[in-house]
């Protein structure tokens, strides 16, 4: 895969950029509000953008579909179609109070109502981890719950 650079934009959101095979630099700007911008950089002044597209969430979906969504995200949309149930991938950050504790000690389900259904650690996947599995920093937690509960879980693991 192409190397993608991530840049935080304080107060705005996050920007991902990469160089296309044809040598054009492209950036996707994700606003906190969910809006996206697609920017194509100027060849003459590589710091500035020559074209910027402004997309709302509907446009995002349409574009993603046209470009061909990955099988994983298609599977996720399948799950998300269940009324009120959502699934999320959350990377546990180094230094979060949950790393080093077991899933049971963290009382993740009691506190957020979300269940951890799998852990992705490096190249390994631990399906259905028990309560005695220790969370390590950098683990990706796959969890199922209500959108609100998942948000709380994200606050716990990713803050």
């Amino acid at each position: 895969m192409t190397e993608v650079t991530e840049t935080q934009l304080p107060g705005v959101g996050v920007r991902h950029e990469f160089m296309t095979a044809a040598g054009e630099r492209l950036a996707v700007l994700s606003h906190r509000t969910g809006r996206r911008e697609i920017a194509v950089y100027d060849r003459a002044d590589p710091d500035a953008c020559s074209t910027v597209l402004h997309l709302n969430s509907d446009d995002n979906r349409t574009l993603a579909e046209l470009l061909g969504g990955s099988p994983v995200s298609e599977a996720v949309t399948g799950v998300q179609r269940l009324e009120g149930v959502a699934i999320d991938w959350i990377r546990s950050r180094p230094g979060s109070e949950q790393t080093g504790a077991t899933i049971g000690e963290g009382r993740l389900r009691t506190r957020t109502g979300s269940s951890v259904v799998a852990l992705v650690r490096g190249d390994d996947t631990l399906p259905a981890p028990g309560p005695d599995v220790v969370l390590e920093s950098g683990d990706v937690v796959v969890a199922v719950g209500t959108p609100d509960g998942l948000r709380q879980l994200r606050d716990l693991l990713d803050a």
């Binding site: 935080q8 934009l9 304080p10 911008e37 002044d45 590589p46 710091d47 953008c49």
Partner: protein, 403 residues
């Protein structure tokens, strides 16, 4: 009794008419500002001059209401300035932005202090003027960046990080200067500054330690309950801060810094409209108390400060964008977009309203914000053309001279 009630009713009717008319005028000004692509703050200030003392249509009945609403406006303004960045962004900003932050302070804070001293002001007022000149308006900058489609540009993270640093610097500067003003006599001042710093330390430690818990406690609330909770907390902490000689505005700012996570963005969304209403009143009230004849007297120093302010921010942007390997046009764009000053400058000047040089400081700050908030967005719009013209004489120099 009946005549009395009728009189009160008449007063209220008059106040409603005045406030309603003022709000409508502000709404028109906000639209005009939107058209011009500048912030509405300078226009609000001009409107305040028109209805203030010595203006064309002085208000009398509703002046008291506007004063209180304006004071609430400062608190909400600083609350949302504190809410703007997450603790993560603050930490990241500190790591990457220390050097540009110091350059920014030296290039913009110092000239203000020196001009204040040259004008023969007390040291405290001169330090306030330094603050007025220092901080870019994050509201203007982020709006201009979005309007000109510059969020994707390479120099933009440097600009945004500098805004974060300035926000953090204000968390120290505001309480200290607030305490310096409150204290009289050297020993007293040392004591109030110590109290202020202790209060800030307590609130910041509390925010870091229990900010999560506070945010979690607030997060299940409905929008209505959240609005009331945040509003109440802001006024309560602000009032307590005022009690211990730290300005209420600073308390509100720290409440904003303390809220984090998902509740942060929700709080910003629910408080936003309320902030817009009260903050407009604050800017109005601020220039309300500025005498237009004072404004004429400060035109020369304001023009000088405006020039220094432009140069200072060009230097800040130039240095800040350097590590991102931006070229000369990008570095010039970063500098010009930072020129606009706004909300913080007016808040700082308002803190000093009671000092001996307060009237002059207020007039100077109003003129300064008028100049920079209009010049900044214009300058940055044409930054690329300026860079082209500036680069022309050096065309004979081989290679990319500015890299």
């Amino acid at each position: 009794m009946i005549p009395l009630i009728a009189a009160v009713g008449d007063d209220a009717a008059l106040a409603f008419i005045e406030i309603g008319a003022v709000a409508l005028v502000l709404s028109v000004l906000a639209r005009v500002a939107g058209r011009l692509g500048i912030t509405a703050i300078p226009l609000y200030l001009l409107a305040g001059l028109a209805v203030g003392k010595g203006g064309v249509a002085p208000l009398d009945v509703s002046a008291e209401f506007i004063q209180l609403a304006g004071e609430i406006g400062v608190l909400l303004l600083l609350l949302t300035l504190g809410l703007e960045y997450s603790p993560d962004e603050l930490r990241h900003g500190l790591r990457t932005g220390a050097v540009p932050g110091v350059v920014d302070a030296l290039a913009n804070f110092t000239p203000g202090v020196i001009v204040g001293l040259v004008l023969g002001w007390e040291p405290a007022a001169a330090v306030l003027l330094g603050g007025v000149c220092w901080v870019s308006s994050s509201g203007v900058v982020s709006k201009v960046l979005a309007d000109l489609d510059r969020l994707g540009n390479r120099e933009t993270p440097a600009v945004l990080n500098l805004l974060v640093i300035e926000d953090l610097a204000m968390a120290i500067y505001l309480p200290v200067i607030g305490a310096v003003i409150a204290g009289s006599g050297a020993g007293d001042t040392v004591e109030t500054v110590a109290i202020a710093l202790a209060a800030v330390a307590v609130i910041l430690t509390g925010a870091v330690k229990w900010g999560d818990r506070l945010s979690r406690a607030l997060s299940p609330a409905s929008d209505e309950a959240l609005l009331l909770a945040v509003f109440g907390l802001t006024l309560l902490v602000g009032g307590l801060a005022q009690k211990v000689q730290v300005s209420a505005a600073i308390g509100a700012f720290l409440v904003g810094l303390a809220l984090s996570g998902s509740v942060q963005s929700r709080a910003a969304a629910v408080v936003g409209p309320l902030r817009d209403l009260f903050a407009a009143t604050f800017f109005l009230f601020f220039s309300f108390s500025v005498d237009p004849s004072d404004l004429v007297g400060v035109l020369v120093p304001a023009a000088a400060l405006g020039l220094l302010g432009v140069v200072g921010k060009l230097a800040s942007g130039w240095v800040a964008a350097r590590p991102l390997a931006a070229g000369a046009p990008g570095r010039l764009r970063a500098g010009t977009v930072l020129i606009a000053r706004g909300e913080f400058s007016i808040v700082i000047a308002a803190l000093g309203a009671t000092t001996a040089d307060g009237a002059e400081l207020g007039a100077l700050a109003a003129a300064y914000v008028l100049i920079t908030a209009v010049a900044g967005p214009l300058a940055t719009k044409y930054a690329d053309r300026i860079a082209e013209v500036a680069a022309r004489p050096s065309r004979d120099v081989p290679g990319r001279r500015f890299r």
